[in-house]
Symmetry: D2
Subunit: 385 residues, 4 copies
C-alpha cells in the first residue's frame, strides 16, 4: 500500500489555538490547571501536539483572542517550536455592539465596525503570512419579525464584497455556515447553500467551510462534501463531533462511521492531497476533558478514519456499483471500516521517527505536569466571554 502510506504521511491537520484554552457551555466554564494564559502558551501546546503526532504543523488563530503586539514575533516563536501560524478566524460576536448582529446589524455604524474588524484580520494575515480568513457570523435573529431577512442578506453581501476586494493574491475567504446558536430564529448563513451562493458571487478566492457540527439533524454531510468538491467550492473543514447540536466534542467521538464516510468523499474527490488547497482544521471545545490529549485523540481519530477511507478497494467498489449490486458494494465499503488500521498508523509513525503511540508518549513526556506547575498566576485564556 505505498500510496496509502504516502497519503497518510502527507496528511495535515490544523489545530485551533482556542481549543487549548478554557471553554464551556452557557451553564458553566470549568477551568483546568495548566491552561495557556496567552497566545504564546497556546502555540507551545499546539507544537506539543505536533511533536507527538507529526501531522499538525499549523495553528489557527482567533482574532482578537490571539491579539499580540507583534504578530511577526509570534510567527517566529511558532517557527522555533516547529509549527507555523495558519488560518485567521475573525471574531465579530463578543462585543456589546453585536447584540443584533455584526455585518448584518440594522445599524450602519455597527456594520462599519464589524467590517473594519474583518479588514483588520487581513492585516493580521499579512503580518503572519496566513493565507486564509475564516469568517463565521453569529448574526441572525431570535424572533419572527425582528429584522428583515432579505435586507440582512444585502448587508452581508456588501461586507463580504468589501473584504474580498481587500484580499491579496494568495489570500482566501473561507465562509462558514451554521444552522443555529447563538441566533435562535434565523441565522444569516444557516446552510451550505447560502455560503455557496455568496462565495460564487464573490469569486474564486471565496470558498465554503464545512463545520461537521453545524447541520440540522439528519443532514448527510458527505453528500455536501462530494457536491462542493464537484463545484470546486470547498475550501476547508472544521472537524468536531456531535450527538445533538453544535456539541463540539472530539472529532470521531460521536459517529466514527460518519467521519469515515466524510474522509472517503475527501479521498474520492482528490481533496486529501495538500495541493488541493483544502485546509483541514479542528474546531472543538474540551469542556470536561484535558485539552492537549483530547486534541491528540482527535488527530488520531481523523488519521484512522482517513486510513480506512484510503484502503477501500476502489476497483471492487466500482465494479459492484456498476452492476447495481447493493450488498456487494456496501460490503466492500464496510470491509474497510471494519478493519483495524491502528497497526498501520503505528508503523508509519515509527518510520517517521515518532512514537507509534502518541497518547502514551504524551502521557510519559511530563508535559502535562510541567504546564500545571509552570502556568501559575495570570489569567487563563478562555474561549467564551
Amino acid at each position: 500500500m505505498p500510496d496509502v502510506r504516502a497519503a497518510l504521511r502527507a496528511q495535515r491537520i490544523e489545530t485551533p489555538s482556542w481549543a487549548y484554552a478554557n471553554s464551556g457551555t452557557r451553564f458553566k466554564v470549568f477551568s483546568q490547571a495548566g491552561v495557556p494564559r496567552d497566545p504564546y502558551e497556546k502555540i507551545a501546546d499546539a507544537a506539543t501536539v505536533h511533536r507527538f503526532t507529526g501531522v499538525a504543523p499549523t495553528v489557527s488563530l482567533h482574532y482578537p483572542w490571539d491579539a499580540v503586539d507583534d504578530f511577526g514575533k509570534l510567527a517566529a516563536y511558532a517557527q522555533d517550536l516547529g509549527v507555523t501560524l495558519g488560518v485567521v478566524n475573525s471574531n465579530v460576536f463578543q462585543d456589546d455592539d453585536y447584540k443584533l448582529g455584526s455585518v448584518t446589524n440594522p445599524d450602519p455604524r455597527v456594520r462599519r465596525k464589524a467590517t473594519d474588524h474583518l479588514l483588520a484580520c487581513v492585516d493580521v494575515m499579512d503580518a503572519t503570512g496566513s493565507q486564509d480568513l475564516k469568517l463565521w457570523f453569529s448574526d441572525g435573529t431570535n424572533y419572527p419579525g425582528q429584522d428583515d431577512i432579505r435586507s440582512r442578506q444585502d448587508r452581508l453581501a456588501a461586507a463580504l464584497r468589501e473584504v474580498y476586494d481587500r484580499l491579496g493574491d494568495d489570500q482566501r475567504i473561507l465562509l462558514e455556515y451554521k444552522l443555529f446558536e447563538p441566533a435562535f430564529y434565523t441565522t444569516d448563513v444557516p446552510d451550505w447553500g447560502t455560503a455557496y451562493a455568496h462565495t460564487l458571487e464573490l469569486g474564486p478566492k471565496a470558498q465554503v467551510v464545512i463545520d461537521t457540527g453545524h447541520h440540522a439533524p439528519g443532514t448527510n454531510i458527505e453528500f455536501i462534501v462530494a457536491f462542493l468538491l464537484r463545484q470546486a467550492k470547498l475550501g476547508a473543514f472544521d472537524f468536531n463531533s456531535r450527538f445533538y447540536a453544535d456539541d463540539d466534542l472530539m472529532a470521531g467521538a460521536a459517529d466514527p462511521f460518519q467521519l469515515f464516510r466524510i474522509m472517503y468523499e475527501i479521498v474520492r474527490g482528490g481533496a486529501l492531497d495538500p495541493a488541493s488547497g483544502i485546509t483541514f482544521m479542528l474546531d472543538q471545545c474540551h469542556n470536561i476533558e484535558a485539552k492537549i490529549p483530547a486534541i491528540i485523540r482527535s488527530v488520531t481519530n481523523i488519521q484512522e478514519a482517513t486510513a480506512k477511507a484510503l484502503i477501500v478497494d476502489g476497483d471492487a467498489l466500482a465494479a459492484a456499483q456498476a452492476q447495481g449490486d447493493v450488498l456487494a458494494a456496501n460490503a466492500v465499503f464496510m470491509d474497510a471500516f471494519s478493519s483495524d488500521v491502528r497497526p498501520l498508523l503505528a508503523e508509519i509513525r515509527a518510520e517517521q521517527g515518532l512514537d507509534p503511540d502518541p497518547h502514551a508518549a504524551y502521557k510519559r513526556s511530563g508535559y502535562a505536569e510541567k504546564i500545571v506547575a509552570e502556568r501559575i498566576g495570570g489569567v487563563q485564556a478562555g474561549w467564551g466571554a
Copy 2:
C-alpha cells in the same frame, strides 16, 4: 385595505390531481367511496374546489398517472368546467427499472428510459399548454458505498441539460428537492442548495420548487423563500404540512404560524403577484379524511395565512426593525398573526359572488353524496402503486 383585498382576490392556488385519489402510507392505503377513477373525474373534483373557493382555477397533472389518449380533449373538458391544466409532474419512480434510480441510475439503459420519459412530459406540456415541468427525483441510495455520490450528480446534470434544451420558449423546469424518502441514505437532490446549483447551471428557464414538507427538522423555510427570491431562482411552491417527516398533511394544519411566516416572505418579496411567475400548488395526501373538503380547507388555510401576511403594518415593522427594537418589531408581526381574518375573507368571497363559507357551501351542495352514488365500479385512482 384596498391592496389587501385586491391581492387576496388575485391569489391563485393550484390543486394536484393526485390529491383527489386514494393515498396512504407503506402500511395501508384506505380507500374512500366516491374517489375518481380517471383523470376526467379528478378534473371534475378540482373544478368543484374552484367553484367554492374561487382561487383554484388550475390543476396539476401527474404523468403517467393522468395519461389519456387525447390531452387536448382533457384540456377542453377542464375548460368546460371552468379550470385549466397546470403544471405537469413527471414520474420516474414507479417502474421496476427505477429500483436504483432513474436519471442517476448506474445503468445507462435506465437513465435513457427515464430521460425519455421526461422528454415525453414536455410533449404532454405542448399538448396541454402547460408551461411548467415539475421534476421530483426519488433517486438516491440506501446504503453507504452503494453508488458513487459524485457520479450520480454528473448523470443528473446530463439528464437535466437534455430536458432543458428541449423546453419551448415559454416553458420551464421546476426542480424539487427532498431530504429523504424513499431513499434512506443519500438523496440526489436533497436540499435547496443542490437544486439551486443545478438550476443556476441550466439557465433562466430552470427554477427551484420548495415543498414545505421536504426539509430536515429545524430548517427555517421562510429563510429559503427569502433567499431564493433574492436570487430570482424561486419557481414554485408545493404546500402541505408536517409534524415529523414528509407527512403531507393539509397545508396550515400543523404549524399555521410557519405558514404565515412563509406567506409574509412571499408578500415581502413581491412573489404573490401572479405576474411574478411563481406557481403556488398544493401537494398533499388525504389518507384518512375526505379529499375534496380537505383540499378546500387547505386552500382557505393558505388564504388566511396570506391575509394575515398582507395586513402586517409594514411601516411600523420597518421602523421597529431600524431601531433594533426586538419586542416592538415582534409585536407588530404577531399583531397580524393574532388577528381573525376570516370575516375579511368572507366579505371578499361575497363580493365575488361566492358563498362566504366554502366549507358549509360544499357540504350543502350534495356533491359528496353525488360522487359516492355515481362512481360505482371501475378502479379508483391511487396515488401509490
Copy 3:
C-alpha cells in the same frame, strides 16, 4: 362565557427571578442597563410584571443565585410589593466540583456535597414558605464510556430518596427532565419517562416538571401533558419556546399553535384550576430583548393560548370525534385557535381594574427608565457563571 372568564381570572403564572437578570449563550452574555443587582431588585421587577398583568403573583427563586442572609426578610419584602415567593430551584451545576456530575458524580464526596445542597434548599423552603423544590440536574456524560449509565441512575435514586424523606408534609419535589445540554452524550434524566419512573418510586410528593424546550425534535408535548395528567404525575410547567434546542425564547413566540394545544390538554385534564396543584412557571432567557416587557409578553401569550383553549366548543368537538369526522373535529379545534381573544382578555383586565393593554401600560409607566437611572454601580445579576 362565564366559566371562560372565571378561569382566565383565576389563572396564575409564576415568573422566574433569573429571567430578570442578564443571560446569554456560551458565545456572549450581553448586559442590559437597569438589570437587577440582587434578589430584592429581582422581586421588585417581578412585582412590576404582576402589577400590569394581574396573574403573576409569585416568583421562583434560584438557590444560591438568590441567596440572602434572611429569607424571611426577602419574603416580607415581596409581600409588601404584592407578590410571594414560589418554587425553589436548586443549582448543582455551577461549582467546579460538578464538572462530572452532581448527585450522579462518580466521586462520593461530590455526591454528598450536592445532596447537602438539595437538603439546604428544603431549609430555604422552610424559611420562605415555598412548597415546591424544583430539581434540574445537568448531570450526564459527554463521551461514550465516560461513566456507567446504570450506576449513575442508582446514585440519582439514592440522592432523590434522601431529599424526598426530608420534605415536610406540604412540600413536593418537582423533577425536571432535559434531553441534552450541558451534557452532550448522556443526560441522567433525559426524558419524561425517566422522571416519571423516579417520581413513581419516590412517592406521591414527587411529580414531573415539563419544560417545553427540553425535548427531542418532533416530540409531541401535549401528548405528554395528557399522559402525565392521566397518571396524576404532572406537577409543574416551565414555559418557554424554541425553534431548535433549548432556545429559551419567550413562551408562545415560536409556535403559538403548539402552546394552544398544550393549554387545551391542560384545560381538558382539569389542570388549569389552581386547586389541581399544578404550578405554571416561565423559564426563559431574554438574551437580546428587554427583560420585563419580554416577560409581560410571555404572560399575555400564555393567557391568549389559554383563552383559545377555553373557548373550544367541547360539545361539537366530542360529537365530531365520536363520529370519526376528522375534518369536522379539526375544524372545531381550529375555529378556537383562529379566533382573536385579545378583546376578551382586555375586557377581563378592565373588570379587574387593570389596564386592558399591559404592554402599553408598562411602557407608559416609566419603570424602565427608572431602573436604568437608579441601578447604577454594583454588579448586575447574571444567569450564567
Copy 4:
C-alpha cells in the same frame, strides 16, 4: 477470552418472516425474483439463514400475514428444517376498519374487532408454542382535535388488560412504541415512557420492546436500554437501522458505533444471556437489496457489535470511570470498537462446524438461484398492503 467465545456461541437472533417478503415505501414496492409465496417458503428462507450463521434458530410470525390452516403443521415443518417458531406479531393496521385506529378507535365495534384479533393471536401462540405476543399499534391521529388523546389511552389500557388476562403462565406481552408513522400527529404509544407505564400497570408478564428505528432524532437509545434493564421491564429488541426516520435498513448499516453502544449496555445489564428472557429480533425491510443475504449481513453485523461489546476491558473501564478520567475511559471503550473482531467470529464459526464466512458460503450454496428457479407462479408475499 473463554467467556467472550461462550457468549458469542450462545447468542440468539430471531429473524422476521416478513423480511423475506417484498416490501417498499409508499412510493413503490419493487418485487424480487425468488421471494416466498407463503409462510412455508418464508420458514425455508429463515432456516437457510440459520444454516449459515448458526445463531438464528427462531422465526417471528406476523398474523394474519402468516396465517395457515394448521399452525401445528407449520411448526413441524420449521422443526424439520432446524428452526422453531418464535414471537407472534399482531396486525391491526391493514383492515379498512382501522383507518382511525384499532384498540383506540372511537368506534367500540372496531375496538372489539381489534381486541378479538389480539386474543386470536394468543390462540395462535397456543398452537405454535410461541411465548411472546408482540403488540405494535399504528393507532394515532393525523390532525389536532381529531380525537381525544386521553380517552384513547383509556381504550388502550382496557384492551391491553383484556389481552393480558388471557395470557398463559409462560406467555408475555411485548409492547412496542414508535414516535410516528403511519400516524402523523399523535401516536398512542409514542415513546418508551408510555410503553413502560402501561406494562407496569399490566403486571410482570408485560414488557417493553425497543425498536431501534422508532425514536425521535437525537434520542440516546442505549440509555433507554440501560434504564429499562434496571427497571426489569425490557422484554425484546427489534433491530434495524436508520439515518432519518423508521428507515428499516439492515441492522448496523447506518451507525455501527451506536449498535456497539447498545450491545454494550445489553452485556453490561446481563441481558445477552438467553436466560435473561430478552428476545433479540430483527425487524427490517430489504426494499432494494436481496433479502436473504441482507439478513445474513444484519446477523453478522450484530455479532460483530456484540463481540466488540464483550471485549471491552471492564476492569480498566471501571478504574478510569471511578477516577473521573474522561479520556482514559473513552479510550478503553473505543479500543474495543476499533478492534477487528471478524477473525474471532470466523474462528468461533469454524469451531461450530460452520463456514467462517457465511456471506461467501451462502453465495456459493446456490440457494439464491434455486429459489428464483423454483418459485415461479403464485403471488409473492408482501409486507405492505
